[in-house]
């Protein structure tokens, strides 16, 4: 298998770039971080990679709204390069702040054929609790088209955000997203049942924790898979047997996609 190259994009306020690289490397890829200024200067740099990851953090301090300023840069400086990247059968992963960027740039949920829509019809807004929270959540895949996920594998990951509530502009958008099987992950309890807070930690529409685009090759999710790639990451590793760290599923599937 040829080396799979991952670009982990960072900018002012990005802060999960190191562990995201580490997770991809554990999965067998070769990852590199790049500052957005470099990509703005030369968007063609993206062509050298198979996977683009937008890691967690507080890009530009989440000023104006979470992910908004970086999304604005993506739209005005390298949207074409990203569109080309997706069209070339490559993968994009947005984690937490990266998910917020993809939504605010219109890449997620995106149009029916995987292209960006013209307008922004989805947002990720303040948690119902009104505060930033770090807690672990169970996640049930809602689609079989997302290449990052095993459709029947419930996973357990931490969230750490203050703005994680997915909302659609109207029922039409929600219906389209459902019809296209784009609901990648939903918050559930340990037994797979839906529930109110804290099972659904932010009040997200339809318990949505992650969305993929219509191709299934772009995934955005609020939880942090890179924070569960070692058995001791699990909050109960001292009392439970940990077979394999759930977060690795996402990174391993991404790398395997190119096998």
């Amino acid at each position: 298998m040829a080396q799979i190259k991952v670009l982990v994009l960072r900018t002012a306020g990005t802060n999960c770039d190191g562990e995201t690289c580490h997770a991809f490397n554990l999965a067998g890829a070769v990852s590199e971080t790049m500052h957005v200024n470099q990509l703005i200067a030369n968007p063609a740099l993206l062509d050298d990679y198979q996977i683009l990851a937008l890691p967690g953090g507080f890009s530009y301090g989440d000023d104006i709204a979470a992910g908004k300023i970086l999304a604005n840069q993506l739209i005005h400086h390298f949207r074409d390069a990203v569109s080309r990247f997706i069209a070339a059968d490559k993968l994009v992963l947005g984690i937490c702040n990266g998910f917020q960027v993809l939504v605010k740039a219109g890449i997620l949920p995106g149009g029916a054929n995987g292209s960006s829509t013209n307008g922004i019809d989805t947002t990720i807004t303040y948690n119902d609790s009104g505060k930033f929270e770090d807690r672990w959540v169970y996640l049930q895949p809602g689609t079989s088209k997302c290449v990052f996920l095993n459709a029947d594998q419930r996973i357990y990951l931490p969230i750490a955000h203050g703005e994680g509530k997915v909302r659609f502009a109207d029922e039409g958008v929600f219906d389209r997203v459902k019809a296209n099987n784009q609901i990648a992950l939903r918050y559930v309890d340990a037994d797979g049942q839906f529930g109110d807070y804290p099972v659904n930690p932010n009040g997200s529409t339809d318990h949505i924790a992650g969305l993929c685009d219509a191709t299934g090759r772009v995934l955005g999710l609020m939880p942090h898979p890179e924070r569960f790639v070692h058995r001791t990451h699990h909050p109960r590793w001292t009392r439970e047997t940990i077979e394999a760290p759930d977060g690795m599923t996402i990174f391993t599937n991404a790398v395997k996609y190119f096998a």
Binding site: G13, N37, N72, H76
Partner: protein
Amino acid sequence: MTWRIEVSNKDGFTDVHGGEIAVDIKQLGITGVDSVRSIRVFEIESEFDESALKRVAEELIVDPVSERYAIGRSAAPADMPNATLIEVHLKPGVTDPVADSALMALRDMGLEAKAMRTARKYVIAGSLNEQQQQLIAQKVLANDCIEEVVFGSEAEPPNPYLKPYQLQIVTIPIRQLDGSALEQLSKDRDLFLTIAEMETIQRYYRDLDRDPTDIELEMLAQTWSEHCVHKTFRGTIEVTETGGDEDKTFVMDNLLKSTIAAATRELAKPWCISVFEDNAGVIEFDDEYGVCFKVETHNHPSAIEPYGGAATGIGGCIRDPMGTGLGAKPIANTDVFCFARPDKAIDELPAGVLHPRRVMKGVVGGVRDYGNRMGIPTVNGAVLFDDRYMGNPLVFCGNVGIMPKDKCFGQAQEGDYIMVVGGRTGRDGIHGATFSSGEMTHEHEDLFSHAVQIGNAITEKKVLDTLMEAREEGLYTAITDCGAGGLSSAVGEMGEELGAVVDLEKVPLKYQGLSYTEIWISEAQERMVIAVPEKHLARAQEVFAAENVEATVIGRYGNNAQLTLRYDGQQVGQLEMDFLHNGLPKYTRKAVWQKPQLTEPDITEKTDYTADLQAILSDFNVASKEWVIRQYDHEVQGGSVVKPLVGIVNDGPSDAAVVRPRLDSERGVAIGAGICPQYSDIDPYWMALAAIDEAVRNLVCVGSGMERMALLDNFCWGNCAKPDRLAGLVRACQGCYDAAMAFGTPFISGKDSLNNEFQTETGETINIPGTLLISAMGLVDDVNRCVTMDLKRPGNMLLLIGETKNELGASQYYKLHSELGANVPKVDLPVAAKTARSVAQAIAEGLVVSCHDCSEGGLAVALAEMTFAGGLGAQADLAAVACAKDVTRTDTILFSESASRYILEVDPVNFGKLAQLFKAVRWGQIGQVTDDEKFVIKDVSGQTVVQADIAELKESWQAPLRW
């Protein structure tokens, strides 16, 4: 022209911020408010037309799904005609990071704007009189230090522009002043210098045959401030002790060197890389890396402006490891807070004091937002409550960093450029160093608002990212942070040997109008100073520019140990480094320890202590801090091993945190703390021993080894010019020495914050309890061996290691009965060290399933916490507890806070090995883990004295701070 956009939520989207404000107003005791709507305001100065403005609104500022907007200034909405409108604007010159980001985004869109400001607007529905409106504005909506309030929709917001500065060199005639005039000068200029210090300065300038300029005087005041030079710790103290077995008098020359630092020197651990020299203490982590740790306080700013004070507290503390050696990468934050009880009635507060609940919310918010944005996990902490912290809350912020072993030292060289990296300089934080060295009064809220700094975490994160790169490329020879005292302190310290020439007009400013002195002493945040050799200058500038970090050369090192300060080529100040750093007169202070005459109370014995246990679990000091902890990202950087919350549903109280700073290694760092100011009320000596024992216990409980365990001391004390306060401090320091020697745990860094007293309007002085925070760091060879405190398997045995003594003095149990008592826990140091080593060994050998220490609330509380954290019951038998001979009562065994005790859950198959391991200490097999979710304790005669469902106990523990 100035365009204005007002952004509000669409119907059906919760106005989270408005809702919080409504709650806060209610808590203020104002009931007439029906609802609060919050509106974001953007004022944009630009020549673009309305169609461009609409583009800005719709594409950038407004969320098309959840928000709507209006152009221009709107009156009260149609459905709320009688609503009160209040706008909160930033004061001129205050940094507006949202506006800065938005300006950049405008350029990304191909648009230009001259300036932008943001504001918040509140539409408050309900009937409010003018006085209530003012109260809401002052206490809930705005922070007077940095914000201005505008009522209604007509009044003009403040003009953001300031006048330019005209150079005027100010000379202060001091040579002819008499003593009282010198004192008045010190007072008028907020120098906080004593008469002896002022006279020393006067003599120096008489010898020079000239008067000082203002910048020279300010720099001396800053460098000589208690905050920067720790006069109390370095002076001579004549100590008298009375009231004990025999009166004695002795002299301590340099308290720090003769106690805390003496322990480090005498222990001489080879793994200590750099101690008490740099911004943080460094120890060896593995063959390639060192880890450093620093804890600081930010008390007075947090009293005035809790959010900003705490945010800049953690921001400043993070810069310490960044400014240690050639710069460490921060890997974990810690936070310990002391507040007054948050349920105080508003009319019980002295004038000039913020409500403790507001202080707590603000402080937690500040640490949360700064730490989370920096991408540093906040992994360990504590929150304590005592009403004496009312006007003087304590905010301890800590940071651990990691650095390659060959980057642990730096030294500026002759001719190196002085480069300031990061944030711009503004008027914020002027006089912070001197302010924090004085006593708080009810007037401080107004007088010292300028001493509060304004933080921006993203600026600091950018500085960190680029500095790490510059460090790897070896582009600079030395680094330090701009903390208290600003450039004056940073350049003054780095150039102590060499001297320096600085051109102050080159320092980049946030806004015009700053005098050369303000530039020099400003404590504006997020600035680091590095020394860059000429050959690396161009590359260094390139590295910072690549990520939009401002880096400016403001001068050069090397000037025959003289400091020359210039503005536009004119000399404004000239100081000898030697006088600056060594001219401070030595002190002799008196300390008088009057042993308090205390007695034990007479409390009636009971047959059932379940209610007492529940009451202690509900005490704010013991109760769950989950509300605080969850707001911190404690897992970022991907190294989390033992989290602050553990157990079957992830909500039990962990003893300490363990992180794995190198993701490719199984080696970990354990981080914990000990703090028990309540014992200071009986004797600060025993308080210090108890705090160190607690810190050590906490680390041992999660699986840290004892071989490489290091301590930090942070003293927050009252006014040490008063002999009784100083005597307590001396005793605490003696305790630190004794305990560090016994445990073999050197101190590697520390800091003191003295003058933590508050003077009320009526002249009453409220002195905080003598508070010593011991922070501790230990190494874990293999993180897979770590343990947590939650019970794990029914049928396992429970062992109580350590002796229970008649030590309820200053305990939670006595507090419940409004008593202090006399029998403060007295750590038996040789036994304590032996016990800690045995428990550490048992854990290292894999013989322990769970481990928790007994601290506040004693055995009963510790065991209860283990049950509900693990979701399992326990049965315990007090007859099996290893007690001292004078322990005769059930309540003593249940709630005594004797130190050096650990509760272990163990598999019965390992009992024999453990009995062998613990043969040199006292212990007992006190019970077992059960599967019935019941907590049952029987007294020595077999009677049940505590019986409860673990769910009830957990509810008692969780309810008080479930906000």
